[in-house]
């Protein structure tokens, strides 16, 4: 089989922040009763993480789990082990009612880093990106300008964005334009 390529093939841009397409990543939509044992077992089996609280992302030894809605999680793992993780999650769910589906190819991801990262996203998304409100482990399902997006904060201060694959170019352009030099806002103090 041919080598898989991400939507923008690792495009980058830099201005007040650095924008990079993160490339392929395993992504799994898991829906079910988030308070139930089956979902907890599935998350553990798939990525080795616990079930995240509302608007949080938690790391596991094989990836991460993020809260998408009251009955939906997004599991993140290596692209090549997505199918394996889906199978493991389905196994662990057993007969419990749920949905586990591989969406690795349906999305694109970007990392925004550097001093202006929070400001760049603050121009596009109605979210409080101050360090107090949006520290590491925070996760939001919101929008970037006119398209849906999910955003979280990494330990190293960078922010990560996931959008639908078809709008990868639009989102990249949004981040690039909003991060152009000269557009510094200076609202978030270091």
């Amino acid at each position: 089989m041919s080598e898989a390529v991400s939507a923008l093939n690792a495009a980058t841009a830099s201005g007040v922040a650095t924008v990079e397409e993160v490339g392929l990543r395993g992504m799994i939509t898991l829906r079910g009763d988030l308070s139930g044992k089956a979902v907890a077992a599935a998350v553990k089996a798939a990525v080795g993480a616990g079930v995240p609280d509302v608007r949080r992302i938690v790391q596991g030894d094989q990836g991460a789990a993020a809260w998408m809605s009251p009955d939906e999680l997004l599991l993140l793992t290596g692209y090549d082990r997505a199918a394996e993780a889906v199978a493991a999650a389905q196994d662990a769910m057993g007969t419990a009612h749920g949905l586990v589906v591989n969406v690795s190819d349906a999305r694109a991801g970007f990392r925004v880093s550097g001093g202006g990262a929070r400001e760049v996203l603050g121009k596009l998304s109605p979210v409080d990106f101050s360090a107090e409100a949006f520290g590491a482990g925070q996760f939001r399902r919101s929008r970037l300008a006119q398209v849906p997006a999910a955003i979280w904060a990494n330990e190293n201060g960078s922010l990560e964005v996931i959008c639908f694959r078809s709008v990868a170019q639009y989102v990249f352009d949004l981040l690039r334009v909003s991060g152009e030099t000269g557009g510094e806002v200076g609202f978030y103090r270091a």
């Binding site: 390529v5 991400s6 190819d105 409080d128 300008a145 609202f187």
Partner: protein, 1003 residues
């Protein structure tokens, strides 16, 4: 002449000259000037013509309230009309022109309207343009349109970019005057996260100009201390050049930041619209001085007293050599004193109060200024510039007691708090008799979701008119805002302020109070829209008692300045004419924005490549590289056709169809919606969603289905594949994916919340490619990996497997009538798979085709297209799709609606095919005409064309149409209207034109 003084001007840097042009004339100002102060310094008092009478108009104010000094600013991509000179910072190379005159500012033909003023009273438009009716369209409207509007519309693409910024704070303080600074300090000391914004580039507002003593130092120095204190507070953000544009529900504030208006050639966004959520909003918006209504109060050279003081102190500009001051309060004496200190002449202060003023009046007298009490201006002399005034008794009718030569008049009618932002979201006002103004009523603030007020007014904006009261009020407001947002930190003391006792002001709504008609019709209320005291009186006489009606009848306050100077004077005039107290007349509604904001700021980043999201499949780049002609389908761009060489689009479509039907075509169908529906109740759910039976579909099989809304109208169609007992894969139309997914979730979340079903939209997970034509199977066999023979995979079956090394799901379905497979592979290898197919298909002349070939081929087969054959009023029964409507099912969405009498009516227009007798192509959207005319005199119709194409396969025009009782009329010839008014004859036939037995696809 106005001119620059040899010294003074705290805001200008005399070391740095800045050049600009006005109406082509080169002028010079200093860094720190506004366009207005630089124009005055250059002797340019007259800056425009009024809207209706084209009267010469000069600068009246020094800030956002300026009604007259509007200019066309900039050129080309930076051209913008109606820009206020008073809020435009001067920069090197600025160009501007004055507005609303022809051929020139000095000589304007339109000024003839001024001579006709007697026949152009309030309501003139309503009275004149009523009859005859036809004259409106051909005579009046063109004239009105020609004369309407002050500035010109920009013609070029905007050269700048804009952006939004979302901010979340505990407290927003709007206004960076001494009150706003103090409120921010108090809120910040309390521990709240504070955002303080000021619309001008400078902190302190009027305090440095108006003077006074705070904490033992000059007010201006105290401002500097406050600013430094605030800069040191990490929880306080300070922004200048940012206006509080609007206050909305739930503590939402729009801040309009003019980032680079003053430095247009530096990189970055021009404007930034801040979209702010705040716990509490402190409006420290200050107050605006009111003009006095006397005859000739619009002659260039008549200015607000405070504005004159600003030009003098801030910019070192004198508006004239001899200035008469006219007032009803003590504050205007500050102007007289400042003028005198600057070495200019003040021949007289006319104080309308019989008792005169207090300490400031004494100070003025002490400087040798003549003060005349109980006096006013009967009339200002001069046309394009003040030449003198005639003085009268305020209590009289305007008989001239004395004439005084002067070249400027400073007027003050008292002060009105800026209550706009307080009022935007429902804050109520209270009438203050002492100050004769409306101020915020603290007991009736705008209320938040919790029932508590979320706006707190402070300082002069709250009606506190002297420095001591202002600072006390602001401290209280800031402290309250912090406490109410849960921050009860340190207390902020109110600084000591030296007392400045002032004598009470006296309301003066007309000068002199007994002015007759001749004076009243020269006494302006609204400068920009040319509304006079006489107009408002006329409106009252004609029965317009409501202030809102009077506003619209006279256009008072409807100009770009929204009546910042005129509203109170106008409604006081109305009240006196109605013999009603002012508070019972009330104000008009204050609506955002406070002053106009740019369209660019509202659009934000949405321009050029990020104007709109454009969705791309993983094969999009290939399509572009082939020079595909695209068409929009939702936010996708799909290839319409792939012209080669010099081919026309029609030729390309013909070739694509011929090649597909003759050998092998290939289609990027990735945009089709793909939704997973799974769970124990999924079969039941699918039966409700679709009109036909889906629960009986076996795993491994596909079925075409129709989806209706609850009103019975067809809204989507597509092929459903059953993946396992509990799981279905729903294919939707390209444009329908998100909508149908939302439709499913809505039913699951609101109506059938107890059904065990989950859905997931996996549209973009896959690239889906149609491999179509008699050689389709040969191509897949050549790639190898799975058996796609007729025996292994019958029509309407699907299988997982590998093809040429790609993990693939193959559906044997056809939308063209040919042998056809749709193959889904992971999006990330989609492009590689497409390339593999093209390469392997070369021996069969594999031909990519676009949406038009797809449409023609489906029409040849009589397949409907959502959006062509349906338009939201069409039910499946109209389209001959009764076979896809289950009779066995108890219910499905739309079932009951489809039994309504109108839906079940045999007289409905129904789908048929049409063949023109001459083989021509019927125009798109054409109607089938019937005999006679309808009630509107239009030709009666009996049907409409829903799809029409040239069929290369049949070599003739084919069409589908909804025709009255169509299926009962097979073989009948009807007439279809053409664009030129003639008709074309067409025979009603079956909509299936090609291979009605389905032999081609069943191989």
């Amino acid at each position: 002449m106005s001119t620059r003084l040899s010294s003074g001007g705290r805001l200008v840097n005399r070391g740095k000259a800045v050049e600009f042009t006005f109406n082509g004339r080169r002028l010079k100002g200093y860094e720190g000037d506004t366009l207005a102060s630089a124009l005055l310094a250059g002797g340019q008092m007259m800056v425009g013509r009024s809207f209706k009478y084209h009267r010469p108009r000069g600068l009246v104010a020094s800030g956002a309230e300026e009604p007259n000094a509007l200019v066309n600013l900039g050129e080309g991509g930076r051209f913008e009309p109606n820009q206020r000179a008073t809020t435009t910072e001067l920069f090197d190379g600025l160009t501007c022109t004055s507005q609303n005159h022809w051929p020139s500012l000095e000589f304007d033909i339109g000024a003839i309207n001024n001579k006709l003023a007697r026949v152009l009273p309030a309501g003139f438009y309503y009275k004149t343009f009523m009859a005859p009716r036809a004259a409106w369209k051909y005579l009046f409207e063109p004239i009105v349109r020609h004369s309407a509007g002050l500035g010109r519309a920009p013609k070029d693409r905007d050269a700048d970019r804009y952006e939004h910024f979302y901010a979340f704070v505990d407290v927003v303080v709007i206004g960076g005057g001494i009150a706003g600074l103090q409120a921010a300090k108090a809120a910040g000391a309390g521990g709240a996260k504070v955002l303080l914004m000021e619309q001008t580039p400078h902190w302190g507002g009027r305090a440095p100009v108006d003077g006074g003593e705070v904490g033992g130092m000059a007010a201006g120095d105290h401002v500097t201390t406050l600013v430094n204190d605030l800069k040191a507070m990490p929880n306080v953000t300070m922004r200048t050049r940012m206006m509080g544009a609007g206050v909305y529900d739930h503590g939402y504030v729009l801040g309009y930041e003019r980032v680079r208006d003053h430095a247009p050639d530096t990189p970055g966004p021009r404007h930034r619209l801040w979209r702010i959520r705040a716990g509490r909003i402190v409006t420290a918006t200050g107050a605006i001085e009111r003009p006095l209504s006397f005859a000739g109060n619009d002659v260039p050279g008549v200015m607000l007293a405070s504005a004159m003081r600003d030009y003098l102190v801030d910019y070192g500009v004198s508006p004239g050599d001899r200035t008469v001051v006219v007032t009803n309060n003590d504050d205007a004496y500050r102007t007289a004193i400042a003028l005198k200190h600057a070495g200019l002449e003040v021949p007289v202060v006319l104080d309308a109060r019989a008792a005169g003023g207090g300490a400031l009046a004494e100070e003025a007298r002490g400087l040798g200024i003549r003060v005349a009490t109980g006096k006013g201006i009967a009339k200002v002399k001069g046309g394009k510039r003040v030449t003198g005034v005639s003085i009268c008794l305020q209590e009289g009718e305007g008989a001239a007691l004395e004439e005084i030569k002067c070249d400027a008049v400073a007027m003050s009618g008292g002060w009105s708090p800026v209550v706009h932002l307080w009022s935007h979201c429902g804050g109520k006002l209270i009438w203050d008799d002492m100050q004769a103004h409306f101020r915020p009523d603290a007991d009736r603030p705008p209320l938040g979701a919790d029932g508590a007020g979320f706006v707190i007014a402070a300082g002069a904006g709250n009606g506190a008119m002297d420095l001591r009261a202002i600072l006390a009020d602001a401290t209280g407001a800031g402290t309250a805002a912090a406490q109410e947002t849960g921050h009860a930190g340190g207390e902020t003391p109110v600084p000591e302020v030296a007392a400045q006792p002032e004598a009470a002001m006296m309301p003066v709504w007309l000068m002199p109070q007994g002015a007759g008609p001749d004076l009243r019709m020269k006494a302006w209320l609204d400068y920009q829209n040319d509304v006079k005291v006489s107009d408002v009186m006329l409106a009252a006489q004609e029965g317009y008692e409501s202030v809102e009606h009077t506003k619209r009848y006279t256009t008072l306050g409807m100009a770009t300045d929204q009546g910042k100077l005129s509203n109170i004077n106008g409604l006081a005039t109305l009240a006196s004419q109605l013999n009603a107290p002012i508070p019972s007349v009330g104000t008009t509604t204050f609506r955002p924005p406070y002053t106009p904001i740019s369209m660019g700021a509202i659009a934000g980043e949405a321009r050029a490549e990020v104007f709109q999201p454009l969705r791309r499949t993983p094969i999009h780049d290939w399509h572009e590289a082939q020079g595909a002609h695209f068409e929009p389908v939702g936010q996708w761009r799909r290839p319409y056709c792939f012209p080669r060489g010099g081919e026309s689009h029609a030729e390309a479509v013909r070739r694509e169809i011929d090649q597909t039907r003759g050998s092998l075509g290939i289609l990027d169908a990735s945009t089709l919606g793909k939704i997973i529906v799974t769970g124990p109740d999924a079969p039941k759910f699918m039966d409700m969603l679709y009109t036909n039976m889906m629960s009986s579909l076996k795993p491994g099989k596909c079925r075409y289905g129709l989806m209706c809304n609850e009103n019975g109208f067809l809204m989507d169609d597509g092929v459903v594949a059953r993946l396992d007992e509990e799981t279905f894969l729903v294919h939707t139309t390209t444009g329908g994916a998100e909508h149908i997914h939302g439709h499913m979730e809505e039913w699951l979340q609101t109506e059938w919340w107890d059904w065990k079903v989950y859905t997931a939209n996996v549209t973009e997970q896959f690239v889906q490619i149609g491999v179509v034509g008699p050689n389709a199977r040969k191509l897949l066999d050549k790639l190898g990996g799975m058996d796609v023979s007729k025996e292994a995979m019958a029509f309407m079956e699907w299988k997982d497997g590998t093809l040429g090394g790609f993990d693939a799901r193959v559906f044997r379905i056809s939308f063209s009538g040919e042998l056809s497979f749709e193959i889904a592979v992971a999006a990330s290898v989609g492009r590689a798979f497409w390339d593999t197919l093209l390469e392997a298909g070369e021996e069969f002349g594999i031909t990519p085709y676009g949406t038009e070939a797809l449409h023609v081929m489906r029409a040849e087969k009589g397949f409907i297209m959502i959006g062509d054959e349906t338009d939201g009023t069409v039910i499946p029964q109209d389209l001959g799709l009764g076979w896809a409507i289950s009779k066995k099912k108890e219910d499905y969405l739309g079932k009951r609606a489809q039994t309504r009498p109108h839906m079940a009516d045999p007289e409905r227009w129904k789908l048929v095919g049409l063949e023109t007798l001459d083989g021509s192509v019927i125009p798109d959207g054409a109607y089938a005409v019937a005999g006679g005319h309808n009630a509107n005199g239009q030709r009666s119709t009996q049907g409409r064309v829903t799809s029409t194409y040239h069929s290369p396969t049949l070599g003739r025009g084919i069409a589908m149409a909804l025709v009255h009782r169509g299926p009962d009329r097979m073989g009948e010839v009807i007439e279809i209207a053409k664009l030129d008014g003639s008709t074309v004859s067409a025979k009603i036939v079956s909509p299936v034109f090609y291979d009605p037995e389905g032999e081609k696809q069943n191989v």
